[in-house]
Amino acid sequence: MNSFQPPRREFLQILSGSAGAAWLTANWPALVSAAEHAHQTAKSANPKLEALTAEQAREVDAITSRLIPTDDVPGAHEAGVVYFIDRALKTFESDSLPTYQQGLAMVQQRTTEIFPGVPRFSAATPEQQDKILVELFAEVEKQEGNRRFSPDANQSDFLGKLRIHTIFGFLVDPEGGGNRDFAGWKAIGRDPAHMFSPPFGFYDKDYPGWQAAPAETEKK
């Protein structure tokens, strides 16, 4: 078990308690203007970076491309996640820029320690990159001991934060500046249409309609 589990218990309780997103509300500062800009940036031919340097962006792209890899369907790279994150760090997540800068330096250092001769994460092979990430996630777990991956904890760690940002950059409605050309939604099988009509899926397509339960099963 790695310790990088989002606080699903709290989150689910909150979501289902009819509010939605309280955990994010509580723990992730404002995101939005960023997103709109990121959407534009991600679409443009020569995306302009605003918070990260070109070198940092290359490394972020490389790491996020292992967090959500490309296979027969798009991954983080195709969804333009790095531009979503760049804009986030310029705006609503500007407080996190030092965490990213320190985190990227840490990744570089550990890369050369684990694979001497490999100058940076992005220069490693995908297999090497996964090994580095397994090790880094394990190190965080060790540091945290048995402590639950709490909302408080995630704010201070680079990889946990990067993971959450990557997921949002991959799956947010493109209106929110990620998920370029619905790459993320296509990958998970979400139809990008704005409206739907029933039947929605396999189980409701032949549904005959609601009928009262037979009298003999009445409990009241």
Binding site: M1, R8, L67, F168, G176, A187, G189, F200
Partner: protein, 552 residues
């Protein structure tokens, strides 16, 4: 329709100033303005419209587009009065015209007859401050019907054998069944239960100039750009404005109720968007600010006449907080359900509404739902133990996103006196006002009950054929959205804050009507009852005003 929009000067004494434009404030505004009174509604949030609504999870979940922003209005939390509270987001409510009804799920169960007389039926429960309501289900029934027809509720009367009596069918058929509803219904039937089409405050047919649900899939947490979700914003507020007697004044953050020397309320003091303070004068004041902000406002309005908080001679302002107990179980089916399409809930069952001989009091409802939006699903919808990144994470995400559904258990919270909202002695909000302090620990009865419900939910998932299934552990709640019981109604001024007319025992022209009025929690899904109470309160208040018993 904006025909006849009116605006009043704060110095102009209107008949009623209502604090809050949500589920109850919207209904009160509509009813009182329709009855001929001049009304100002003060809403702390912005006046958003359908065109402003978005599917952007970042804007909703991180930017607090529709809800209270913990950076601006922080809160503190502690489990018991002996603990020191620490800063922690612990309450969420809607902060825009329409309040929480803009972003809610829209489950619209009625309370059952037992909910009003549980104390008499069950007797005292150790550690609980259990009481009967001063009104019965029969008193409220006509108003439940009014909510269904006027606000707009879809459902099927008579479909649940456990439903309380009703005077009229629903005005619209139920929403279409979702895949989650189909498998839940079949599984629950197999186990001998009685699932039925969920009553939802979402239009299944076009009505009153509003669209039917378009099944966009961004429902819980989001505002409805089609006007199909029956928020106060979409339903009653336009009716109130159309009277030409009701002004909805957004960006108006009320921080004090002003009294005269005789102990009568003269109006509400609020900050406008530029943080200038104004007194809106009124013959009577109604607080409909929700179960957290209504008691907070009373406590903020302490004075020489009311040193412990306005209308708090009983000492019960802010106490007996009930959030409804809850737990979620999830299952993954073999074929695509595609439950991300549409509203959240299409089937519910109330077989466990009144549980007996299980070693605890209370009960609850179970529903079949899917209330995840895509990023929220990826963060929180996967089975425990799934890799958090990499090829396996992506593989499970791809496989499960369209195949997952939830069985959600909602239930009783017993009233406990220490469970409360009060003013934090140190922390201030961005306006310099004392922040909310929440003290809360679930009554052990409620945790036992939820554990029992969780086991039933897993049995249903099993019967539904979910090969992968799991449930969250039942734990003490530290965050809530149902804010009930904190200014409870009752006949005895020593043990309640308002009477059966929602009039405070202490101040003749001050009324409170929202979740804070509830005496017991029901089994979840309180908004329907909050609105029925508001319709009833409007009738009572109108009668008092017409007899000259408010301003006299």
């Amino acid at each position: 329709m904006t025909q006849g929009k009116v605006s009043y000067k704060p110095s102009e004494e209107v008949d009623f100033v209502i604090v809050g434009s949500g589920a109850s404030g919207g209904v009160l505004a509509k009813e009182l303005s329709t009855n001929g009174f001049r009304v100002v509604v003060l809403e702390q949030g912005p006046y958003l419209q359908e065109k402003d609504f978005t599917h952007d999870e970042v804007k909703i979940f991180a930017e607090h587009f529709l809800t209270v922003d913990p950076k601006q209005q922080p809160a503190t939390f502690r489990k018991t009065p002996q603990d020191t509270a620490r800063k922690k987001p612990c309450v969420m409510y809607g902060r825009c015209v329409g309040g929480s009804s803009v972003h809610f799920t829209a489950n619209y169960w009625r309370l059952h007859e037992v909910d009003f007389i549980e104390h008499s039926k069950v007797g005292d429960i150790a550690g609980a401050n259990f009481a009967d309501w001063p009104i019965t289900y029969a008193d409220l029934e006509p108003y439940y019907t009014k909510v269904e027809w006027e606000v707009g509720v879809s459902g099927l009367a008579g479909a649940s054998p456990f439903d309380p009596p009703r005077s009229k069918p629903y005005p619209m058929p139920p929403l279409p069944v979702k895949g989650s509803g189909v498998v839940f219904e079949r599984a629950a039937r197999k186990l001998g239960y009685h699932p039925y089409p969920a009553p939802m405050a979402i239009l299944s047919q076009p009505r009153a100039g509003r669209s039917a649900c378009m099944n966009c899939g961004f429902c819980l947490g989001f505002g409805c750009e089609f006007g199909a979700k029956s928020s106060s914003l979409a339903s009653v507020i336009p009716m109130a404005e159309k009277t030409g007697r009701c002004e909805i004044r957004p960006n108006s953050y009320v921080h004090r109720i002003e009294l005269d020397k005789n102990g009568r309320a003269v109006g509400a003091v609020y900050f406008d968007a530029q943080r200038n303070s104004h007194l809106q004068r009124a013959k009577a004041v109604i607080l409909a600010a929700n179960g957290a902000e209504t008691p907070r406002l009373l406590l903020l309005s302490a004075s020489g006449q009311f040193p412990n908080g306005l209308a708090n001679s009983s000492g019960h302002v802010g106490k007996n907080l009930m959030p409804n107990s809850n737990v979620v179980a999830c299952g993954v089916l073999d074929e695509p359900i595609n439950d991300y399409k549409g509203f959240a809930v299409s089937r519910v069952m109330h077989d466990f509404y009144e549980l007996e001989n299980q070693g605890f009091h209370g009960g609850g409802g179970l529903d079949a739902r899917y209330d995840f939006t895509p990023a929220a699903y990826a963060l929180n919808g996967l089975p425990p133990g799934t890799s958090k990144w990499g090829p396996e994470f992506k593989k499970v995400l791809r496989q499960n996103f369209t195949r997952t559904f939830e069985v959600f258990c909602h239930g009783t919270s017993l009233p406990v006196e220490d469970n409360s909202f009060s003013l934090d002695p140190e922390l201030k909000d961005a306006w310099g006002l004392p922040a909310l302090r929440m003290t809360f620990r679930d009554h052990p009865n409620d945790l036992r009950m939820m554990n029992w419900m969780k086991d039933r939910a897993l049995e249903i998932l099993d019967a539904a054929g979910a090969k992968t299934k799991w449930a969250n552990p039942v734990s003490e709640q530290e965050f809530m959205v149902h804010l009930l019981g904190t200014c409870r109604m009752g006949n005895d001024p020593k043990s309640s804050v308002v009477n059966a007319d929602h009039r405070t025992h202490d101040v003749k022209n001050l009324f409170l009507c929202d979740g804070s009025s509830m005496v017991t929690s029901g089994r979840g899904q309180p908004t329907m009852t909050i609105q029925a109470l508001a319709y009833r309160a409007a009738d009572r208040i109108t009668a008092l005003a017409k007899r000259g018993e408010i301003s006299a």
